[in-house]
Symmetry: C2
């Protein structure tokens, strides 16, 4: 292990690990280490020196204490579905794979909250909730661990209506680097709001594992809407699509999702997901509510899109068609990658005020063209947030350099 100086120390640490969580829960195998050194991004695999699989918060705490005493880096690992290389062990160290902690605890149906361990994913929780009439709407696409979503402040297509993790985490149990266990909102508490003390919960949400290991997350739940309907609308220009978004939000339509796909992105999705939408700037929309409120939401939204020369809405009312549509949106990452087989995708994440969005997307597309780069654009436009999915040949240094220059310009 690169981070240890002496063989004796290595043995001491490993034996401490084994005595805490048993032989089976400590792995030095190359395959296991490789698997825990990367996520779904283009970032290079940076395997940890050892992977541990604790089964409860007490084990996490004891393991952390050993790491702390030996000055070893700790890297928490959920599902590895991240897109930003956050799990890479850049200085070696110990990966805490939390998949064995997979309990769903303390579901309070009347209070709309639940507590989950790090091994519980978004889809597992929603399957568990199915008969309760409740759901957890934050949906970053991948079937990520909910504690990982808290650690990375995950967002997604529903954020315009339900908020991001920031608005939906009520409490966290966290193991600090020295093994101390804290509850950010107080032990066993699940306040809807609070102004007592510093807001530690939201300091840990988005801290990407740098402040501690999240071992439990208490989440806010929502009632499943009576009806949902999705629609697709094509536009003659980026401006027309984004203007429609701004006007729909200004009109107070409580739209649940509103996603922009540029011509390159919709083309990729058509090919990857066997769809046949016109290859022009496009909005995917979804409305949640009662039958009656849906009618009204849709009527207002359609009036606005048509005044911006949008096409008629193409409907997806039944669950299957809706799921197919949103799966296509969620698969945008793979669809982009499939545009150039053998290449890797690399996502940028830009959030700007809504009013500046059309101009920035138009400029970005121009820049991509001039830089000879493939970069379909998709965005949670309701929040002014868009992703440019760079599809890059990792073996072409000149192209990598152009990507680097492009992303630097974009960040500015």
């Amino acid at each position: 292990m690169c981070v240890f100086v002496q063989k004796a120390a290595v043995d001491r640490v490993l034996s401490a690990f084994r005595s805490i969580c048993g032989e089976d829960c400590v792995s030095l195998g190359e395959a296991v280490r490789e698997q825990h050194g990367k996520d779904e991004s283009v970032h290079k695999c940076r395997p940890p020196d050892v992977v541990v699989f604790p089964r409860c918060v007490e084990e996490v705490s004891s393991l952390a204490k050993v790491c702390h005493d030996h000055n070893l880096p700790i890297i928490p690992f959920g599902t590895g579905t991240g897109l930003e290389g956050g799990v890479g062990a850049v200085k070696g160290g110990v990966c805490f794979s939390l998949r064995n902690m997979e309990q769903i605890l303390d579901l309070h149906q009347e209070d709309f909250d639940v507590t989950v361990e790090p091994g519980v994913t978004r889809k597992t929780l929603n399957a568990y909730l199915r008969d309760t009439g409740l759901w957890f709407p934050v949906d970053p696409g991948a079937d990520a661990s909910l504690c990982g979503m808290a650690a990375t402040s995950a967002s997604g297509t529903n954020a315009v209506r339900y908020g991001t993790m920031r608005e939906n985490v009520m409490n966290l149990e966290v193991v600090l680097s020295n093994g101390t266990v804290i509850h950010t909102a107080g032990k066993g508490r699940r306040p809807r709001k609070t102004s007592a003390g510093y807001n530690l919960t939201n300091l840990f949400v988005g801290s990407e594992g740098t402040l501690g290991i999240i071992t439990k997350t208490t989440l806010r739940l929502y009632g499943i809407p009576e009806s949902m309907v999705s629609a697709v609308c094509s536009f003659p220009s980026v401006q027309a699509a984004v203007d429609s978004t701004v006007q729909i939000l200004q009109a107070g339509v409580p739209v649940a999702r509103i996603e922009f796909l540029d011509d390159v992105m919709i083309d990729a999705c058509n090919k990857f997901s066997s769809l046949s939408y016109p290859v022009t700037p496009t909005l995917f929309l979804e409305f949640h509510g009662s039958e009656r409120s849906l009618e009204e939401q849709v009527a207002t939204a359609e009036e606005i899109t048509q005044s911006n020369e949008g096409s008629d809405f193409q409907w997806a009312q039944d669950a299957e068609t809706r799921n197919r549509l949103w799966k296509a949106r969620h698969d945008a990452w793979y669809a982009a990658q499939a545009l150039r087989p053998g290449c890797k995708a690399y996502s940028t994440d830009v959030c700007v005020p809504l009013s500046r969005l059309p101009q920035i997307i138009v400029e970005t597309k121009k820049d991509l063209l001039e830089s000879r780069l493939t970069g379909p654009i998709a965005g949670h436009v309701g929040d002014g947030n868009f992703h440019c999915l760079m599809v890059v040949d990792p073996n072409d240094p000149d192209e990598l350099h152009r990507v680097h220059l492009f992303t630097e310009r974009l960040a500015r």
Copy 2:
């Protein structure tokens, strides 16, 4: 000044203050100091040693630096409308009264955001926004400074629909104790959401001035709803009123306000605001939306309240009647006080999971009775939050002792 050791140091500090913001903006007068040592609560006045009135962030920064160099406590002061004694200079020091910084900056109508200085109150901002079709809904009752509301993580009757300050502050300019000026989300930035870096904005929201002086707040705005309607509904029991609240929220009715008043509270409001509602547990409700969605919201809510033996809704549809109703709710504090002339009100603030609310309110009322205390109860029940407004004779030590014991039990 108690905090200074030497006369020479006092003179040096005062002369530094005067050279920064001018003779007129530094006050040692007793009346001014008294006025800045208390808020609207029962907490004893704790006057600062000196009050300064900076006019811009540069002056705040320079003044803070002087305080830092001389190890003097700094107490930021907005409007003094707090109810928890947060402005008291418990160890003396320098009060920064920020009322001279009263600019409204950077209104971005298309992006639904605006930036305000600490002298701008909630009502001033909404008056300024009147012609734009936008408003800022967080409403703690008093006409508080918006930066003060950020500092205290203010909430209010609208929180169930629009959230608290926590969800509606996008960026803060803060002067740290040593004079350093920071922007919690980056200078000039106003992201709808972000997962880049630690969430400093929400660390400062609710920090009560302990981490720095907020000199600018960037706020999220909302479209003014097409219609609003308020209703009052009386119930045979606390349980029936709270059950109705839970069921209305579970049914997904996007209620804008839902406020509980117990029999003692509604009696006080009737007397203070010349109303004539039945003296039983009561809900004040408000619905926002389009004409059509209102009809539906109201129909669902009324069906639920009637199934819980609530009375027919008493309507307040026109702006004047609505304002009268909510003014009565906002004046609950004074109404409680008026129950016992010569006494002071003292508010407790408790937030519990919704499912536990009826039991806790019933127990609290029983405890009040047994302790021979006057404590009308009002609550933002949509969040499980309620206030027991203790009306206390400050000259009766035995009563003060009973209040102390009661609040200790309540906090548990």
